[in-house]
C-alpha cells in the first residue's frame, strides 16, 4: 500500500513539475517548496543521526576521557552557532576561518596532485599518432588563446613568432569551443536521460501501460 501511495505522490509531483512548461504556476511553486523543505529536513536529520550522535555525542558520553579530543570540534561547532545573530557573529569567525582555511588548503593541494600535474604529464606524449598530435596542438592552442599581450619589438623574427602565436591561439580557441560544445551536449544527454526515466516511471510504475 505504501508503494502505491509513494507512486501516486511521485507521479503527481512529477506532473506538477512538468507544469512549469506552461509557466510559473502555483502548483509548481508548491512542488518546489515541498522539495526544498524535504531536502533541508533530510539534510538536518542526516547530520544529526549520521554525524552528531554517532560520531560526537555518543563517544563523548560513553567514554569522554578516551574521546576528549572531540571537545575541539564540539567547541568549534558551538561557536559556529553564534553566526545566527549579527551581534554575536564575530564569535563564529574562528570556526569559519578553520573551515575555509582547511578546505582551501586541501582543495589546492589536491588539485595540484590529482589534476594539474597528472593532466600535464598526460599531454607529454610522443607525436606518433594523429590523436597525440591533435592533443598537443589543441592543448597548446588553448593555452595560447588566453594570451593577451601585444608585441613590444619590431624585429622581424619576434613579429613572426608573435604572428605564429596569435594564429595558434586562434586555432586553440576553436578547440576550446569544441570542448565547451561537447560539455553542453553531454549535459543535454544527461537531462534527456532523466526525462526518459521520469516518463518511464509514469508509464510503467504509475499508469502501468508499459511492460
Amino acid at each position: 500500500m505504501s508503494d502505491v501511495i509513494g507512486v501516486w505522490v511521485g507521479a503527481i509531483l512529477t506532473l506538477v513539475v512538468f507544469s512549469y512548461l506552461l509557466g510559473d504556476t502555483p502548483l509548481f511553486r508548491l512542488a518546489q517548496a515541498i522539495f526544498v523543505g524535504v531536502a533541508i529536513g533530510y539534510a538536518i536529520t542526516a547530520a544529526v543521526y549520521l554525524i552528531l550522535i554517532p560520531k560526537l555525542f555518543d563517544p563523548l558520553i560513553l567514554d569522554p576521557v578516551a574521546h576528549s579530543y572531540l571537545i575541539v570540534p564540539l567547541v568549534l561547532g558551538v561557536l559556529l552557532l553564534f553566526k545566527v545573530r549579527t551581534a554575536w557573529s564575530p564569535l563564529g569567525n574562528l570556526s569559519v576561518a578553520f573551515l575555509f582555511g582547511v578546505g582551501s588548503a586541501l582543495a589546492l593541494g589536491g588539485a595540484l596532485d590529482g589534476t594539474l600535474l597528472p593532466q600535464l604529464a598526460a599531454t607529454l606524449v610522443p607525436l606518433d599518432s594523429l590523436e597525440n598530435v591533435l592533443l598537443i596542438v589543441g592543448t597548446l592552442g588553448a593555452l595560447l588563446s588566453f594570451r593577451f599581450v601585444q608585441p613590444t619589438t619590431t624585429r622581424l623574427g619576434a613579429r613572426a613568432v608573435e604572428a605564429l602565436g596569435r594564429g595558434w591561439g586562434t586555432l586553440g580557441r576553436w578547440f576550446v569551443w569544441m570542448a565547451l560544445g561537447a560539455l553542453f551536449a553531454n549535459i543535454a544527454v544527461s537531462r534527456i536521460t532523466i526525462l526518459v526515466n521520469r516518463v518511464y516511471f509514469l508509464l510503467h510504475d504509475w499508469l502501468q501501460v508499459v511492460r
Binding site: L106, G114, Q119, A122, N186, V189, S190, T193, N197, V199
Partner: protein
Amino acid sequence: MIQCTHCGTKNRDGSKYCSDCGARLVPQAGLVCPMCSTPNPVENVFCSKCGARLVPLTAATITDKPAAPAPIKGISLPSKPAEPPAPPPPSAKTEDWLEQLRTQIPDQPTDEPSPAEPPTHEETEGIPDWLARLRAAEPPLDELSPGEKARQAAAAIQIGDEDVPDWLRPAPAETESPRVADTARMPDWVLEVPAAQAAPSSAAPTPSAQEPDTAEPQVPAWFKPIEPSPDLPPPVPATEDEIPDWLKALKPSDEALRAPAPPLPSETLVEGIPAEKPAWLTTTPYTDISEDEFLPDWLRTPIPPQPTPTTPEGVAPEFRGELPDWIAALKPAEAAIPHIVETGPVETTGPLAGLRSVLPLAAVIAEPHRLSPAPDKPPAEHARLFEAIVAAPVAAHPPRARASTRGNTLFRALVYILLTLAIVIPFFVPDLANTSIRTFGTPTADLYDTVATLPFDSLVVLAFDYDPGSSGEMEVQANVLVRHLMQRRTRIVAISTLETGPQIAQRVLDTAARATGNYVYGTDYVNLGYLAGHEAGLRQLALAGFAPTTIDYVQRRPLTQYPNLSAVQSWRNVALVIQLAGTPEVLQKWMEQVQPRAGVKIVAAVSAAAEPRARAYREAKQLQAFMSGLMGAAQYEILSNQPGLAVISVGAQSTASVVLIALIIMGNLFWLSSRNRGKTK
C-alpha cells in the same frame, strides 16, 4: 561709408570729421569688443561674436581715439587708471603758429616740465608771452581743484590777449580794436590777416569760464550778465523756507555740479584730477578730451551734465550713480555666472568694486562657459509638462509583439509535443528505435573487464555519490554494476560523501541482494553511511582507511563487529573502488584526494555530464575504466548479459536526441533566414 559714432550721420570714406556734427570719425579699423576682443566693423552696435554692446548707450562725446587705451578684454575691466595716451602725431592741419612753436622747441623730451623746476630761458625762448605767462603763473596743477585750474587757464589766456593772433581775435565790428602796443608785437602775417576773416575770439565762453573774469570786455554785450538796476533794492537772499518746493526740486545736486568736468586744453589737467573724478572717467576713451587740443576753443562745447543713469538690474547700489549705462549693460548677469564664481574674490577697486568674481579668475578661465540667457520658462511649467507626460496613458503593446509571443508559445508547445512523442513511442514500439549498442572498445567494456576479472570474494568499495536528482540516470548504472558484483561474489562496502547517498545505496544493494538471493547484509555487504568532511573526510579516508569505530548505516554497529568486512580498514585489502559519480565535482574529489594517496584501483560510473572529466582522468591513467550515462548502462547490461531498463530506455533516449538535434538545426536555419530577411528589408 563711415558712420559717425556721435550723431549717426554717414560720411564719405576717408573723412576724418563728421560732416554734420564735426566729431572725429572712428577709422575703419573697427571697434574692439570689450568682452571678447573681437574686432567689429564700426557700424556694429553689438559685437558680432558675443553680443556685447560696443557703442555706449549714453555717450555724450565720442571722439576719435587712434591711440586710445587698450580695449577692455574679456570680462575684466581695468580697476586702475589706464596709462595716458600718447600725444597725437603732428597733423597737416596743425596751425602754422603751432608748427612754428614746435620747431622752436629743441628736443623737448616731454611736454610736461616738472612743476618744481621753472622753465629755463632757452625753453621759453620763442614761446608766445601769453603761453609763457600761463606756464609761469600756474602753481602745481596737482594742488588745484579742477575749477581753479580752469579759471587760471582761462585767465591766463585772457590776460595774454595781446599775444593772441588776429585771427583769433573777435571781429572789429563786434570787439574792440587791438591796442597798438599789442599789435606791435604781433607777427606780420598776423597783422596781414583781414579782420573779417578772423575766427571767433578765444574769449568765447568756455566750460571753465563759468564765472565773470577779466575777459569780460571781450564778451559780447548780449552775453554780459544783466546788471541790476540802481533803482531796485539790492536782492536779499531768500531763506530756505521761502523757496518753493518746485524750485528746490530743480536745484542741482552737488554731484551734478561736479560731474561735468570742463574740457581743458591741456592734457595734464585731465591727468591731474583723477582723485576728484570717478575712475571710469579716467579710463573710458570717450571722455578724454586731450585729443581735441587742436580744436579751437569756440568749438569746444561744454559737456552737458550727464543725467543720472538709470540703474539697470544687477548693478550694485553703490555704483548706481557712477556706472554709465553702457558699462552696466556689459555687466554679466548673476544667473549666467557659473557657480564657481561665487567663491571668487570681491573686487575692491575700480568700477566693479563690490562685485564678486567678475574679474578673471583661474577657475573661470579653466572652465569656459557662455553667457546663457535665463530660462524663459518657469520651473513650474516644466513640472506640469512632466506630470502630463507621466499621466498620459501607456501605449498598448504593438500587435506584432503579441503575434511574436503567440508564435513563441506555439513553438514551445510544438517542441514539447515532439519531444514527448519521441520518448513515449519507443516504449510502445521498441523496434522503431532499434538502437545498435556497440560495446567493443568502449570505456564500458574496460570497466566490465575490470569487474569481471576481480578475484572471488574480493573486497570492493562502492561509493554512491549521487543524489535523487540524478538517480534517474545513475541508478540504472548502479543496478547493473551491483548485480554484476554480486554475481562475482565480491564483498561490498558502500559509502557516500553525500547526505542522501546512504539511503540510495541501501535501496540499490537491497534490491540487488533480493534479486541475487544469497547476499546477506553484514556478511556480504555493508553500508557505512555518510562520510562527512568532503575533501577532509576523503583525505582522511585515503590516508588512514576506514576507522574501526565507523558505524554502519542500517544496524548502527561499528565496523569491527562485521568480521567479514572489517578488512576494509586497510586499502591493501581493497581490490577495487567503484565510484558512482552524479556530478564532475565528486569525481574530481576522489581523483584528487584518494587516488594519489590510497594507491588503490579506481573505476567510475558517471553521468553523461561528468563524462568529459572522467575521460580526461581515464586518459591520464588515473581512472582505470568508466562508463557514463544511460548508454554506458545499456552497454554494461549487454556485456553482462542482463538486459534491463537501460536497454529499454536507450531507444527512447536516442530518439529524443535525434529530435532535439533536428530542432536545433531547424531553429538555427529559421534564425538565419529571418536575419537575412531583416538585412534585405
